[in-house]
Subunit: 458 residues, 2 copies
């Protein structure tokens, strides 16, 4: 890749705009438009105040930042032009460089070059896009962790050991007439088991990682008129007030995501669930039940009453699977004796194996904080141990799943003492899938699909 | 002004975001969050790669640009932090600095500090906001010219000479008992006349400058169904295609502005004009007539017909003032003999003192280019000579008008030989108004109203 690329790296309507250039000739080309100094004589990581000229016509007062290869993000010569935040000026400056043969960068092309030039591995490059998209504390943490190397560093060590075995086994194949055994089967089995264990831990973390990245799906279910919409509005309104001091957040589009304590919760709209004879309506109810299945947390909402066993019966009728995290909300305590409310809570929770039961009033905004704390606790309890690595990328999970399959074939092959060339093939498959995570093995299609999801200018 | 300020300087949804800091302590404070190097030991205009930490928690991988006073935009110590374009990260970083006592900058506060610290005069500072807002070639040129010093440099020389006379006349006042004359009345009259001439040229340029800055108001008038909306759509659609490769232009909001050849035209919606007995409708017609008065260019649209004198009669019924730039459009030539069309054009134009008459077809998009060229020519013909200065700022025009009044009083006073203390007062008034343009004389209110119109971060 030897061509020179350019893109606007900042968003619109700012006070300043930054135009980014990368490629072997960008400093020389920029120098042609800059009169104050010879940019080719400047050191890396220096900033130069001056003007961009189109012939004799001044276009803008700018700051030029110079990065000389390999000390730049892309490891190529790079320039950043900081100009006034006018679309007209930015477009004009970009056009000047296009006239000199620069090309508008593809989405993610700066980061792709950083990857191809060895500045980062593929999973780190993917984390850059996650980092830019992060809008909550926990998304930010996961992306940052992955960008710093994440779990690929662990996998790399294990993978290197596996490569050694692969070579030894392939060596055996070359000597297949002589019945030698270079690779210690016992040690290989141990290694494969160790890798499988590591993979399983990572796969297990995806449930948490994906929930953090995409938002934790929460279904609020219950009969009509128990206060589901009121509750959702209370949660949304408080959220709106909290988010408003973060400029430019785009959560207006997805009306039902709520950030609590740095975690994103995605509330699933469920039609009121009740027995019905109406065919069309029963389809709606079925849909609600499907959404309960896809939710990570189910909030069952009912009206509080003295007869807690009646509530229990109605809850059980929903048939929510046991492994689901459930919360029971007893609404409308504003028209109930508060001291009694705690008794009902306690009795029902005891009956339901200490499931969280919370008496609230959505209308009067009473005890909403307890609900929030409980939601957060359910997710945080699932967080792997403090320093564990978390997989949040579907592509990584799929690669890990495939590597797991191949490694299980290796184990089976070893147990059944099948011929070493077949074992070697399975090991190669596992290596391939593990290598695809960090990008040691890639295809152009894969890179295209990964970096195509980036924004332009990164 | 000794406090430290911070603001996000770039727009939302970009690949990178730039956070700007200015004030005596910003380098030291930034150093507390940056572990890789001691930023206090770095040279001005250098860039440092590293990480922003909140305690032991890494927040982001960043580039830190250092500008040491007085070599910065504000002439204070300044830092620019280039981080990933996530709202969450940007807000987090800004909050870290707010925790150390920095304050979110007011709109335009960086530029206000640049002005107060002598980096630019007030009219130059105002041009920075115009530059950021510029969306056409001609707006960009005017803003850039003003930012480079514009007409204030000329005024400054004249003003300095006037100050000298003011001092001499005030000296006479001190010796009023002795009837001396230090100030040469003839030379003073000459100077005042010279300044008045200069001011008049600048005032004349405002008609052009304001049209460029706000968009040239164009009224398309004519009876209903002559094709006004079709024409507007044709103009708007072509424009949309042209603008689409400039990212983030916000012209969707103002649906009827059109950029032609680097000039912005603002089309005024006029209800069809016709005689009516209906009272309500006649109010609408009156409104249309008022809008014609406020337009700079009136495009009269009619259907083409052989009887050009009938068209002339209908046009004259509108009673458009002679000084207005008018264009007559003869629409629907698609259902007319084309060679005849030119005859009608020629005959009508001759009759109307060579007014531009253009035969077009809005529906078939025929000869729309001729209309565009004519619109542009009408504006460019009004452009003051090549290197003339153009006033585009209403505040400057008002100050010039007031200075003109005071100077005319000075002339009257000199003619009528009134006492020198009264002349001195008028000169002081003129000096005050001239000085207010470049900001030599300002009030806090004035600064507030000027910089309050800026975006935050500039």
């Amino acid at each position: 890749m030897t061509d020179n690329i350019i893109a606007l790296a900042t968003g619109s309507s700012g006070a300043i705009g930054v135009i980014r250039l990368s490629g072997p000739d960008v400093i020389a080309i920029c120098n042609e438009y800059f009169k104050e100094k010879n940019l080719l004589e400047q050191k890396s990581h220096t900033i130069h105040f001056g003007h961009i000229y189109d012939g004799n016509k001044m276009i803008d007062e700018v700051l030029i930042s110079i990065f000389i290869a390999p000390n730049s993000y892309t490891k190529e010569n790079s320039i950043e032009i900081s100009c006034h935040g006018s679309d007209f000026i930015q477009q004009k400056v970009i056009n000047l460089f296009i006239a000199k043969g620069l090309r508008i960068a593809n989405p993610g092309e700066f980061t792709m070059r950083a990857f191809l030039n060895g500045r980062m591995d593929l999973s780190q490059a993917e984390a850059v896009a996650d980092l830019i998209a992060s809008s909550t504390k926990s998304q930010h943490e996961i992306a940052l962790n992955q960008m710093r190397g994440g779990f690929t560093s662990i996998l790399k060590t294990l993978r290197d050991q596996l490569i050694e075995f692969a070579s030894l086994i392939e060596l055996e194949n070359d000597f297949s007439e002589e019945d030698v055994e270079f690779a210690n089967r016992k040690k290989l089995t141990e290694l494969v088991n160790k890798i499988l264990e590591q993979i399983q831990t990572l796969l297990d973390s995806f449930r948490y990682g994906n929930a953090i990245k995409e938002g934790v799906p929460v279904a609020i279910v219950g009969k009509p008129n128990v206060g589901k919409s009121t509750l959702l509005n209370v949660l949304l309104n408080e959220e709106k007030a909290i988010v408003s001091d973060i400029p430019g957040t785009t959560r207006d589009v997805i009306e039902d995501t709520i950030q609590i304590d740095g975690l994103l919760f995605r509330f699933i709209d469920t039609a009121g669930i009740r027995d019905t004879q109406d065919h069309i309506e029963s389809i709606g109810v079925q849909k609600s039940k499907d959404q309960i299945l896809s939710a990570k947390i189910v909030v069952y909402m009912d009206e509080i009453e003295e007869d807690f066993e009646a509530i229990e019966t109605r809850y059980k009728e929903l048939g929510i699977r046991d492994e689901k995290d459930s919360i029971i909300l007893l609404n409308k305590i504003d028209s109930f004796h508060e001291c009694h409310a705690y008794d009902v809570e306690e009795a029902l929770s005891t009956k339901l194996n200490r499931m969280p039961v919370l008496a609230i009033s959505a209308k009067e905004k009473l005890h909403i904080d307890r609900l929030k704390k409980t939601l957060v606790k359910l997710i945080k309890d699932e967080h792997p141990s403090e320093n564990a690595f978390i997989v949040s990328n579907l592509r990584h999970t799929e690669a890990l799943e495939k590597a797991k399959e191949s490694l299980q074939s290796v184990l089976n092959g070893l147990e059944q003492n099948i011929s070493s060339d077949l074992v070697a093939i399975d090991i190669r498959h596992a290596l391939h899938h593990l290598g695809s995570i960090s990008g040691e093995i890639t295809t152009e299609d894969l890179l295209g699909s990964i970096f195509g999801r980036f924004c332009i200018g990164k």
